[in-house]
Amino acid sequence: MKILLSGLFLALVLACSSGNKSEEQAFVEELDEMKLENDVISGEVSDILHRIPSPLEISVLLKTSGKKYNGAFLNSPDNLSRYNTNYKRAVNLGIYGTDLGYTNIYEQTQDGIKYMATIKDLANELNIGQFFEMETIARLVSNSDNLDSLLLITTQNFNSINHYLQTQNRSHLSVLFLTGGWLEALHITCEVAKANPGNMQLQETIGGQKIILENILHLLSFYRESDKNMAGLLVDLEALKQSFDKVTITTIYKPSTFEVIDGVMVVKDNSSSTIEITEADIENIRSVTQSIRTKIIS
């Protein structure tokens, strides 16, 4: 369809030409340059968006390491009415998306239903409500045996939204959505770490977010000039980056080995990484994260 429209547009330009070849050529070249520039940026944005990890990974980590569910960490669905701009809606859609994943992993059915309804409302406001079939999701939420299906369908829905937004040239909403989701996962992890001081696994998880933050900053930088809300968020997250500056990640590479078991290549990673982060760094990261999040959800 895109090809057809492009062809039609080009044909119209050519059909309507008055024979002034130099102007016509300059115009077409200008169009090509603009397209190239946009394609390069959107290609890079898309590549980076793909690599941002799912917040679900952190919820699974918390659950498997025996940490208890705490709904007080999450953004209340009652705050929904505060989000009356697309910027607020998109970034809070990401926050609620992470909260939904957290409630699902902990099988908190009642909370999950509230978050699902809130997400559906926000998605409708952003004209992406079609990706949520509430009847199917409500059925899955009501039975804990359906947890795998529920996680699968919600992950697929969010992936579809990101893909759709990119194809609609609304990648900025995808960026906001992923940034909100990541920030909420970081917030929850920091709060759990605060309640469990000295937990190395949580500390390393927080330290590892430095890599993701660098990618998010890069994403937001594309919109610095064109979107003042995103420029403001970039400034806030640059302050958060300063809190991560003392965190060091050291990697030692060693070739991996593998064996094939039941048709699956099982790799043994002989490389290792060390993440150095202090309790003071954690507290600093927690505090800055909380202040950015408060600004977003208020």
Binding site: T155, I211, V264, V267, S273
Partner: protein, 139 residues
């Protein structure tokens, strides 16, 4: 005007043929999701379409302590002809799914090093230049 209509019609017909000729990588990537081993949570599905490229590549931040699985689905048995190679952030090769001329359709990677990883799909021949893939994780 006649020329314009002929042009539009031609573009329309050709794009229709192209769509038919294209592989259904979307379907193949969806088919790959339930083929993730038990206990793995789905993260991403990837379309593998060779087009004019030498390879198709995606990236993802892997976390230390998490096990990831990448599988490949194609019309051919064991996704023959499509090789998935995993590189770490320094572009060191971590794993490749072609071993002794055999194609392995799934890689399990217990990650020991947090960082950006590159999942690259290459093609041994032109007949199998179409497929799908899924990425999952478990703790």
């Amino acid at each position: 005007m006649k020329k314009l209509l002929v042009f539009v019609f031609t573009v329309f017909v050709l794009s229709g043929f192209n769509a038919d000729a294209q592989c259904n990588s979307e379907t193949l990537s969806t088919q790959c999701i339930p083929k993730l081993a038990s206990g793995f949570n789905f993260l991403k599905s990837y379309k593998i379409e060779k087009g004019g490229k030498e390879y198709v590549e995606y990236s993802y931040v892997f976390t230390k302590g998490t096990q990831y699985m990448i599988n490949v689905c194609a019309p051919t048995q064991n996704a023959e002809g499509i090789i998935v190679t995993l590189y770490d952030s320094q572009r060191n090769k971590v794993a490749s799914s072609k071993v002794n001329d055999q194609y392995i359709s799934a890689i399990a990677y217990p990650c020991n090093t947090t960082g950006i990883y590159y999942i690259q799909y290459t093609f041994d021949d032109t007949t199998s230049a179409c497929g799908g893939s899924a990425l999952g994780f478990k703790r």
